[in-house]
């Protein structure tokens, strides 16, 4: 490991052959060409009268797509060259890290973690935008009873794809941009442990997103994003594309998780003990570990669903000896830990923000770590609270109620740490702090309503109603999204050298904050009144609460549009911020803006944690 940069002299990249021309466009071309090849081969060699024909063809098409996409973007170049004995040279590595390529490197397979971080910001925006359009379509349909906007088949299709797009967006919303851009610098490293895998995780996400979006074009799905069996066996070919997009996505998230953990465990600079790490690094690592445990279940259960559909296996088809309950269990074994994979990076970023903005150390750093670890561990044991009303195993109701209610203890610790950090601080009320306060307000409501649902008698009444939907939207929109926007406002100056516009950011905040209360409080009322979820049309009983919910949704949309405008406008016209606008001490603020290619000229030596404000951070 080098402690100083090699200033090797090498010729700037010349024509360099086809491999050097690969970018997003060649990836799309590769994907389409190999998708066609998959379609052609399966179409030719398979019996078109077989019941599984359409599913086999679609699956072959999807496999072709992702293989061609990888080929086209250059993901296979590194391993390929190693296989033939012509491994990458240092000059190649620097080329792939985007040296001297200017803006073009953002469209390419670039291994520089900062480029990957920015690409993740764009992907998050794309996924949130697509999911948001579907959300607006859903709420527009539900503004009054009766079908007016689209018929129920189209509506039902929106529901599943909206759910999955938003889940994908939130899994990467904080971890994607900031675990990539900021965490290596916070550790004092030049890049991640496996830079090529980093680029792979991003571009695989792009490939998976392509598959997921294509679901909408083939008649979509008529089930929720949980794609329960046995109804998933009944769905059209959209289900095969959906399953393939998940299997591909799991590759992305597994690779990213391994990368994060290895970077934090092996690439910390001298003196950066685990106890001196910024708390955000801990949060990213714990979330990554939890994701490594959970996402393989998702890949497994979607593979089994695919096999049921393409090879007529009977994992989940009860008429052939299987059971849908197996699918539900495997799914939720992933599904519950996954929501904490989504939450922890956002909470970690908020810990960081509360410390910097209150000019005080993180209160009870050790409790924060214990809380996050406890949450992650407990989350492995709670999954069947999603299945209380399935009739699967009523004797397990009590134990799962116990584990689920226990989770409120580590969750409560987050409030202790954040409020403890802010307490008696000199709170700097800038944009990140504003969103932090919004998070605190919303997260209490999210947590408490979760406790209602963990109680079986209450769940017997409220399961499958809009109460559940309102609860998890308070978590995902009210808490995680607010945390992700706080993180964006916080680290935006590091990425661009400019502040995210304060005024537009506040307009966006108030629209979103008030919108969240209006939308989801009214949705709680719909649920209490008895409106089930995923209903394309509803009884007059729920007319008023739905109308109010839709108005609130339009407010949130307005807020998000203003935020998008702020991000775009501030990128090139925002107020310049300098390299350390928040006067913070973690390593990312001590490097120039934008950080140079390998972050540090000379790797720093650390002697204390970054939470001593009022003193300069000491470097050897």
């Amino acid at each position: 490991m080098t402690t100083t940069l090699e200033h090797a002299t090498h010729a700037p990249s010349k024509g360099g052959g086809l491999a050097r021309r690969q970018n997003f466009l060649t990836a799309m071309i590769g994907g389409v060409v190999f998708a066609w090849l998959g379609w052609f081969l399966s179409h030719h060699f398979l019996d078109s009268t077989s019941r599984n024909y359409n599913d086999l063809v679609t699956t072959s098409l999807a496999i072709g797509w992702i293989f061609g996409f990888w080929l086209g973007i250059g993901a296979l170049n590194g391993p390929g060259r190693w296989l033939i004995g012509a491994d990458h040279t240092r000059a190649d590595d620097l080329y792939y890290a985007g040296e001297n390529q200017g803006r073009a490197r953002y469209w390419k397979y670039c291994t520089d973690h900062k480029v990957v971080g920015i690409q993740y910001i764009v992907m998050t925006a794309v996924l949130l935008g697509a999911g948001g359009i579907l959300a607006m379509a859903i709420r527009t349909e539900l503004i009054v009873p009766g079908n007016h906007f689209v018929n129920q088949q189209v509506y039902n299709g929106f529901v599943a794809v909206h759910g999955m797009l938003m889940i994908l967006a939130l899994i990467v919303a904080v971890a994607g941009p900031w675990a990539n851009f900021v965490v290596p610098i916070m550790c004092g490293a030049r890049d991640m442990a496996f830079p090529r895998l980093n680029a792979l995780s991003l571009w695989t996400l792009v490939g998976a997103a392509g598959l997921l979006l294509s679901v909408l074009t083939v008649g979509s799905l008529t089930m929720g994003w949980v794609v329960l069996e046995p109804i998933a066996d009944q769905a059209g070919v959209g289900m095969d594309l959906f399953a393939m997009s998940i299997i591909v996505f799991t590759v992305s998230t597994t690779v990213a998780g391994i990368n994060t953990i290895c970077t934090v465990m092996t690439m910390r600079t001298k003196g950066m003990t685990l106890a001196r790490l910024p708390i955000f690094v801990w949060a990213s690592m714990i979330a990554a570990a939890l994701g490594l445990y959970a996402f393989p279940f998702f890949s497994l259960v979607e593979s089994q669903t695919l096999m049921d559909r393409t090879f007529s296996t009977s994992f989940f088809v009860s008429s052939a000896g299987g059971t849908g309950w197996l699918q539900a269990n495997l799914f939720w074994l992933m599904g519950h830990p996954e929501v904490y994979v989504i939450l922890l990076p956002a909470v970690g970023a908020l810990f960081e923000i509360s410390s910097v903005m209150a000019r005080k150390p993180v209160f009870s750093y050790r409790t924060a770590i214990a809380g996050m670890t406890g949450l992650a561990s407990l989350s492995i044991l709670v999954w069947a609270h999603h299945m209380f009303t399935t009739g699967w195993a009523s004797t397990l109701g009590g134990p799962f109620m116990l584990t689920t209610e226990l989770i409120s203890i580590p969750t409560g610790l987050f409030f202790l740490v954040i409020i403890g950090t802010l307490w008696r601080g000199n709170i700097w009320m800038k944009l990140p702090t504003v969103w932090l306060f919004g998070f605190i307000f919303n997260f209490i409501i999210a947590g408490i309503t979760g406790i209602y649902l963990s109680d079986i008698p209450i769940d017997n009444q409220l399961h499958g109603t809009m109460f559940v939907t309102a609860h998890f939207h308070y978590v995902f929109v009210g808490s995680v999204l607010f945390g992700a926007i706080a993180a964006l406002a916080f680290w935006y100056p590091k990425v661009t050298g400019r502040y995210l516009d304060e005024t537009m950011g506040r307009i966006s905040f108030w629209l979103a904050f008030i919108g969240v209360q209006v939308t989801f409080l009214a949705m709680f009322i719909s649920g209490l009144k008895g409106m089930p979820r995923r209903y394309s049309s509803y009884s007059m009983l729920f007319e008023h609460s739905n109308f109010v919910t839709t108005i609130g949704a339009y407010m949130i949309m307005a807020g998000m549009l203003v935020l998008l405008g702020a991000v775009v406008r501030s990128w090139s016209h925002g107020e310049p911020s300098g390299p350390n606008p928040w006067h913070a001490n973690s390593l990312e603020w001590l490097v120039p803006t934008p950080p140079p290619l390998e972050n540090f000229d000379v790797l720093p030596v650390i002697t204390e944690d970054p939470y001593n404000y009022g003193e300069e951070m000491v470097q050897a």
Binding site: R51, I133, M136, A137, T140, P145, G146, N147, F149, V150, N151, Q152, Q153, V154, G219, T222, E229, P230, I231, D233, Q234, A235, G236, S312, V317, S318, S319, A320, D501, E502, T503, M504, I507, S508, S537, Y538, S539, M540, L541, M557, A558, L561, V562, L564, G565, A566, R569, S570, H573, G574, E575
Partner: protein, 236 residues
Amino acid sequence: MERSKAFGTALASILLGGGALALAGFALASAAPHQAALHCQETSPGNCTITISSYPDALAGEHGTTGGAHPDWVSYSNDNLVVPANTTVHMTIDQYDSGGALNNSFFSKVWLNGAPSTATYQFPSTNGSTYGKVQTLSGWDTNDIGHTFTLRGVPGNGTPIFVSVPLPADPSTNGSAVTIGSGQYAKPVIVNFTFKTGSKGVYEWNCEFPCGGSREGQFGYAMSSYGYMSGTLSVE
């Protein structure tokens, strides 16, 4: 940015973004298929008649001359029915399809306005040349059903209506007796029944004979796609 510029950019973002979304919305709404409504024809005050058909494929015209995306799927002639409120509806269904066994024999019985009732049935002969007598029946053999017409209402949204009428399999084997659109069919089984509507509301009806291909329950494909085996009845 000074505040006025910030406010201006914010407003511009909302308007531009909102406009783009509205466009996307219009595109979505017009892409979703809606068949033209079939109105019940008034015959005398408080009475009207309406006739639909059920076919073994989608070639009879409502999905286009080539049968649309799925010409081989079973279909009803109309999926968008409009009847007046507080009226006795006289419905005729011409059933052109073959059949088999229901998965729930409940649907082999005639139910009108929430109570067991009767409907009239007229069957073509096996060679399709003549029709038998009109029979008044309270149900049909559960193993010989072609489709069902099952209509129900959403409580809280108009008067609840429950109608379920079994449509027997067509016994005629003369498959080219009738040409409708680009399809050729045997002479149909003619089923007549009446039910009453109350106040305004929107109801869904669908066929309850699952024949849709998937392993579990056979409610996939045509059964799960709007415009084939299910539709809307609007009481206005």
